[in-house]
């Protein structure tokens, strides 16, 4: 036994060294592009085009950030290689924040209500209705995209926050499914005790079931917040106007306005860096929970 172990030990070491080298390589490839955003956005806007092979920020400055946050006048901004139209990432940050927060709040709450009914309450047609929700999970976005755009247009909701938020505000099939699974898994006993004490169903839902579900609800809300924050095509179609423009749309428009030959990479990367902040913050704060939740989505 001990001889066999000492015989295999060196090979294990070699393979684990190789494995850690591979891990290292994967980490570098994964993280370097994100670092490059920071490096470019912190560099002097002229030096970016000259010192293309330098790893660290060249001529360290916050000018790019100041520019995309509208802290320079248009003339100053043009002199620095920016576009004539004012760019105000404060506004886009706020819009993204408003849209993601309200959308996810509505979606999580109303999905939780439905999920609770599907998991706990008895009513005719329950299983059939839930089956329809499940079927909708398989319909790709491309099928509903055009009809939903036309609906929002007919409602005169183009270029409004409610237009951007409407399709996901009341539910998505996935959120209902995720929370139903969760409610099925938690213990009935507290709810039954509350029933015996004479509490009615809404009270039990609000006072017993929801507080017990805070971990699941917040996990789901984090995932959906990031997904909403990242969404591009829908807000681009229904919310191009500056007042409701979200970050992803703003970045795409910014990029399309920047000169073809020499894009304003300093400004673009500063805008990009700003758009990464919430994702990174959420990630640092909820890291473990987010990773576990993502793993769970694999079994939906």
């Amino acid at each position: 036994m001990s001889r066999a172990q000492s015989g295999t030990a060196p090979t294990i070491q070699i393979s684990s060294i190789l494995a850690w080298v591979a891990f290292g390589l994967v980490m570098v490839v994964t993280l370097f592009p994100v670092y490059w955003v920071l490096r470019t956005s912190l560099s002097d806007h002229k030096e970016i085009y000259v010192q293309t092979a330098v790893i660290w920020p060249v001529g360290l400055t916050l000018d790019n950030f100041k520019r995309v946050l509208g802290m320079f006048t248009a003339e100053q901004s043009v002199a620095m290689g920016g576009t004539v139209t004012g760019i105000n990432f404060w506004l886009y940050l706020r819009n993204s924040f408003v849209v993601s927060t309200f959308l996810v709040a509505g979606q999580t709450f109303f999905s939780a209500m439905a999920a609770y009914a599907f998991a706990r309450l008895r009513f005719t047609g329950r299983d059939q209705l839930f089956f329809f929700y499940l079927t909708a999970m398989m319909i790709p976005g491309v099928v509903t995209l055009i009809p939903n755009f036309i609906l929002i247009r007919d409602l005169k909701w183009l270029d409004t926050f409610q237009g951007i938020m409407a399709p996901g505000f009341l539910m998505t099939p996935f959120t209902v499914f995720f929370l139903r699974q969760f409610f099925l898994g938690i213990n009935h006993e507290l709810e039954e005790a509350a029933t015996i004490d004479g509490a009615n169903i809404p009270t039990i839902f609000l006072r017993v079931a929801l507080p017990l579900s805070i971990p699941a609800l917040s996990t789901l809300a984090i995932l959906q917040f990031i997904a909403t924050w990242n969404d591009y095509l829908w807000p681009f179609l229904v919310g191009k106007k500056e007042a409701v423009r979200v970050l992803t749309v703003a970045l795409a428009i910014f990029q399309s306005q920047t000169p073809q030959g020499a894009p304003d990479w300093g400004g673009l990367m500063a805008g990009t860096a700003l758009s990464l902040i919430p994702t990174l913050v959420i990630f640092l704060v909820f890291g473990r929970r987010a990773v576990n939740a993502i793993q769970f989505t694999g079994f939906r």
């Binding site: 494995a19 850690w20 891990f23 994967v26 980490m27 490839v29 994964t30 993280l31 994100v34 490059w36 470019t40 092979a53 209500m113 439905a114 609770y116 009914a117 309450l121 009513f123 329950r126 209705l129 329809f132 929700y133 909708a136 790709p140 976005g141 491309v142 099928v143 509903t144 995209l145 055009i146 009809p147 036309i150 609906l151 247009r153 009341l170 539910m171 209902v176 009615n200 169903i201 990031i226 990242n230 969404d231 591009y232 095509l233 992803t248 795409a252 990029q255 990479w265 673009l268 990367m269 990009t272 758009s275 890291g287 473990r288 987010a290 990773v291 993502i294 793993q295 694999g298 079994f299």
Partner: protein, 298 residues
């Protein structure tokens, strides 16, 4: 008297509450999922430019689709993308998952791996557009530093699609690895111990235990990533806009052009119905072929 009435009353009250609880989600479901799906199908039988009323044209759009060389090209380009993307991404992910399972269960490593997937597509596309810039991009500085010729990447007909596939592999491989890693955790370790006692080597254990027991997860991963790949759009919207010429004009971009550039809503929905049909078929074949729901553990 009350003994048999009260339960019925309670049941009726419960059902009433249940419908009240389901109602908001049901409205959302009907208005933004169910009705639009049907409406999309109906629109595919019309000619509609959003200005004049829609005109019913029967199956004319479908007949036109069958003879549409641009649609065939879009399908071909999309399939090319899927073929470039999926095998490499899945192999990489499987490799990373097995390595994590063996050498490190650290959440930090998994966290870093999943990071690209958390970034918006638009942002990922912008970052790589800059890194891959033909003249000033950092990657070309490395390539030239190593003594090779600079590469056009997204600017060339031949390289554009492989480059887009590479960008999306960068974004998705870590996420896929984490899903597979989670699947690996469900395999009982005793199986490996038993196999080791029987004298199985690493390769035999991998092919004889890991892969068969991982099948449900692998099928799930393949189904979802293939469906996702067929709907590639954001990356193309930022980097190539279907070009150079039409080298990256994928189906989703083609639908977008018809709907929101040419405002041909009828034909655009026809293409999306066709794409939907293709996705359903692929999913069905995969589920059948791989017998997705049963792991060999059962």
């Amino acid at each position: 008297m009350t003994t048999h009435r009260q339960p019925r009353l309670a049941a009726r009250r419960e059902a009433l509450y249940a419908w009240a609880f389901v109602a908001p989600s049901l409205i959302g479901f009907l208005v933004f999922f169910a009705v639009p799906s049907i409406r999309g199908l109906l629109m595919s039988f019309t000619d509609w430019d959003l200005l004049r009323p829609a005109k019913f044209v029967g199956v004319a759009n479908y007949v036109r689709l069958l003879g549409d060389a641009d649609f065939r090209h879009a399908l071909k380009v999309t399939a090319y993308y899927v073929i470039l993307n999926i095998p490499i991404q899945t192999m990489l992910a499987l490799g990373m998952a097995v390595m994590m399972d063996k050498f490190s269960k650290s959440t930090i490593i998994r966290g870093i791996l999943v990071l690209p997937w958390l970034l918006p597509n638009i942002v990922v596309a912008l970052i790589w557009l800059w890194l891959l810039d033909p003249t000033m991009g950092f990657l070309n500085q490395i390539i030239m530093g190593l003594g090779f010729q600079r590469q056009p990447f997204l600017g060339s007909i031949d390289q554009a699609m492989p480059t887009i596939a590479a960008i999306n592999i960068w974004r998705h491989a870590g996420y896929t690895a984490i899903l597979i890693y989670a699947g690996l955790q469900t395999i009982p370790k005793e199986l490996y111990e038993a196999a080791a006692i029987d004298g199985a080597n690493e390769r035999q254990k991998f092919l004889g235990i890991t892969i068969p027991l991982l099948r449900p997860v692998l099928v799930f991963v393949l189904v979802t990533t293939i469906i996702g790949s067929f709907q590639i759009f954001d990356t193309i919207a930022i980097t190539t806009k279907g070009g150079p010429v039409d080298a990256t004009r994928v189906v989703y971009w083609y639908i977008y052009e018809y709907a929101f550039v040419r405002f041909k809503m009828g034909y655009a929905t026809t293409i999306s119905v066709a794409l939907f049909a293709i996705l359903i078929t692929i999913t069905f074949i995969q589920m059948r072929y791989f017998n997705a729901n049963s792991s060999d553990l059962d």
